[in-house]
Amino acid sequence: MAIVKWKNKDLYDPWNGLRTLQDEINELFDIDRAPSTPGLFDRNLAPSLDVIEGDQNFTVRCELPGIELKDMEVTVISNVLTIKGEKKSGSDEKHRSFFKKECWTGTFQRTISLPDSADTGKIGAELKDGILTITLPKKEEAKPRQISVKIQ
């Protein structure tokens, strides 16, 4: 920086408020600052989800600890995928005296719209160690193809 405009800080700057507002909004989207543990008033009832697009298929992964297969429902209507279910508390809940309770119980639902290239007719799902993995193959026309071109 060779030459900078001199700015008198004592002068009133009408744009200053707008600039700090922009910084504040940017800070809101700074995900790294968010605490990793739920706060006092945070209710994180939506389970975490991953959607990965591979060469041959789409993989949807969802964290559902403590949820049985029978308490869960995965549906696809046109190209909208819905994962919903209920996390039940233990049957002897009434006899338990809690010292700390961070895990939530109750119903949850996550809905995502799938891309057109996903073949919803060949959907496969697996629940293992509290992680639900849904695999959707790509439609034939969406898969990457190698076309050899003859050069004459």
């Binding site: 990793s36 959607v51 591979g54 559902l64 600890p65 002897d92 010292f99 309770k101 895990c103 509290g130």
Partner: protein, 117 residues
């Protein structure tokens, strides 16, 4: 473990419940993606460490939504003298780690025999 190793490894705390049923304490930790083989429960002095390695690694492809964290769950709890450290059992099911801790016999209420003289 050296400081460098700690910095390289990413740990995060799992959410947990602590509750008591009768004269037994229970600890439930939510560790999705942790199987029996990846779980390590240790008692050292009066510290109970629960460590679970997530088996779900990075998948090849583009992440359209990426909310699941990768790394190692690690929670450390302090046990007081009322816990019988020799009777700690752990189980894992559907991504929930359940640890049962017994309360020492000496801490339980006991009836005192009255001797008539």
């Amino acid at each position: 473990m050296s400081e460098k190793e700690i910095n390289e490894q990413r740990y995060f705390a799992a959410r947990y419940n602590i509750y008591k049923t009768g004269y037994k304490m229970f600890l439930d930790l939510e560790m999705p993606g942790v199987s029996k083989e990846d779980l390590n429960i240790q008692v050292e002095g009066n510290h109970l460490m629960v460590e679970g390695v997530k088996s779900t690694g990075q998948l090849a492809g583009k992440y359209r939504i990426h909310e699941m964290k990768e790394g190692v769950y690690r929670n450390i709890f302090t046990l007081d003298d009322t816990i019988d450290k020799d009777k700690i059992e752990g189980a894992v099911k559907n991504g929930i780690v359940n640890i049962s801790l017994d309360i020492r016999e000496s801490e339980k209420p006991r009836k005192i025999e009255i001797v008539s003289k």
